[in-house]
Symmetry: C2
Subunit: 344 residues, 2 copies
């Protein structure tokens, strides 16, 4: 006998009250007399009732769901943020929907999601989306709770949670300078916006400039955050006639790929060359040598972004005054950095 799933009416009948009372028990128990409440609760158990979220969403005009949009959720950097976000959202009764590698018309895609009572807000990890249009969407009379959390410096008009990428990159490079390096190369991360340099590259340049150290364009190796691109950077490095004594990579994967290739070429780290990474991924501490890197508080990014987003959704945060939360990274010195070899 295939019964249909019980509704609030079934519970009401069972408890011999009206459906309004059942609804109250479920959403504002204190507004119902103790005895009635218990009777209703018993009826809920007896019938195996669960609220129909679609009906509730329709009525409440809210899905209690957040959409998280990431460029590639397979990347640990994003999945760790996602994990924390799911947790933080659940604590406040929200579910998380995930979108990865959005299609050819990202804005349309997101509009569909956000305007369709499927999600109440957007946590944007993808810096390549055009937030100005997304923002317009909100300006068109429709509230669009939105928090951006990614590396690039975001549109000041939208709330954001980010780490101090530029500043952190500076600290990483300063560390190399402090132990005596003057010729420092950089494996550049991809830039999300055409017209703007990657923040970590900007920080690298700033630290070099600060110490009045020259930056040679041939010391800049373009990468894409994948291990293989670090390895490719090493290939370029090996062709250099005049090799730097240290390399700062824009993330750990590239740093590790680089070290791998250099070791194969007989260049030993940190004796011949120092390497600094960025992120402090799980493997960084278990490489040989263990990698010096900037630790990113990724869990905290996820948590803070969700908190902020739900505050927006629930109206705790007044609109029009976007919050910008900047989290601090931390330099973790391990064994991949050492003073440069003595010259000749």
């Amino acid at each position: 006998m295939a019964r249909r799933t019980p509704t609030i009416q079934d519970v009401a009948r069972e408890a011999e009250v009206s459906s309004a009372t059942v609804s109250r028990v479920l959403t504002a128990p204190e507004r119902v007399a103790e005895a009635t409440r218990e009777r209703v609760l018993a009826a809920v158990r007896a019938t195996g009732y669960t609220v129909n979220q679609a009906a509730r969403s329709l009525r409440l005009r809210s899905a209690r769901t957040i959409l998280l949009a990431a460029p590639n959720i397979a990347n640990p950097f994003y999945s760790i943020i996602l994990d924390a976000a799911i947790f933080a959202a659940a604590e406040r009764g929200y579910s998380v929907m995930v979108t990865s590698r959005i299609g050819t018309d990202p804005n349309r895609w997101l509009q569909d999601y956000l305007l369709s009572t499927r999600a109440d807000g957007l946590l944007l990890l993808d810096g390549s989306l055009d937030t100005s249009r997304l923002h317009n969407l909100g300006a068109g009379g429709i509230e669009l709770p939105l928090v951006a959390a990614y590396d690039e410096w975001p549109d000041p008009a939208i709330a954001s949670v980010l780490t101090d990428n530029r500043e952190a990159a500076m600290r990483a490079v300063r560390h190399l300078i402090a132990i005596g390096h003057t010729e420092i190369a950089h494996v550049v991360g991809p830039s999300q916006h055409r017209d703007q340099e990657n923040e970590r590259l900007v920080g690298y340049r700033a630290a070099m400039a600060e110490a009045r150290l020259p930056v040679r364009e041939e010391w800049l190796f373009q990468g894409n955050y994948e291990v293989a691109s670090g390895s490719a950077a090493a290939e370029h490095f090996l062709t250099l006639a005049d090799r730097p004594t240290a390399i700062f990579a824009a993330n750990d994967e590239m740093a590790l790929g680089l070290m791998y290739r250099l070791r194969r070429a007989g260049i030993s780290c940190p004796t011949d060359i120092s390497v600094v990474g960025f992120d402090d991924t799980a493997m960084a501490a278990y490489y040989d040598p263990p990698l010096t890197t900037m630790r990113q508080p990724r869990e905290e990014i996820g948590r803070a972004a969700i908190t902020e987003l739900i505050d927006q959704i629930e109206g705790t945060r007044p609109p029009g005054k976007p919050v910008h939360i900047v989290l601090r990274s931390e330099l973790v010195v391990r064994e991949s950095t050492a003073p440069p070899p003595k010259r000749r």
Copy 2:
């Protein structure tokens, strides 16, 4: 002027048709005359209408959403499956909701999700959940599309997509045996069910038995799939008076943690010891030495599981005949394995 979001009625008014016609244009355009259709489409654009998913879900009793439940989505193993799942689901017009590290009462949690018209089906990556109860849920008259995709051998009553873990582990160990090893240790992965050994451990035992090689209990190091536990296994290994010449680790992270610690202790791989991992994670090829491992078709797991699940949801697949898809892993021989050192 804060307009409310346009409804199908607004579009109908604009196009001077009934809301029923608008609905038809949106869901079954061929049932509407060409001219009318175009008028409606124009009105949709003019009003900026997007369908209200909550209302649609309520009416259709379907959310076109899949719930993916993983033990820990921060782990690349799961996030890669998730990424593929999102993609495959999107192709069929479904969204993916994610749950990670489910709370203290997982069954209740999942029930809430699944029975509440929030999700139409469940993709279960968490082998520690009690599927029998989940299954009962379905038997209680309510259809519960469910596909399990994890390492442990699942309840035959539910559909599943898995890799040939046991067989793959056997092939990994056979590789070691083939190149001359006879004393082979194993870093054991966690078992999801109390009463059942991890599948890779079972495969390890089978391969050893097949070759009439003894398995000593002190060669079994318990791990938890994290790098640190591989490192801990190495500590144990170092205390052994009589050391095996090869180690098979139940995943790459543990294999790498192990190699890291062994190298620190002056044991060189593969000269002194051979190591085989499992999964072929991104770093495996870039470790020193590059790791021999079993490649798992994770994207394919995600894709196949979603396909199967949506077939169930949409009734393509007759219920009561659970499908069991077994995907084949592939041995990738790199440099961490070599014949054992000559005895004395």
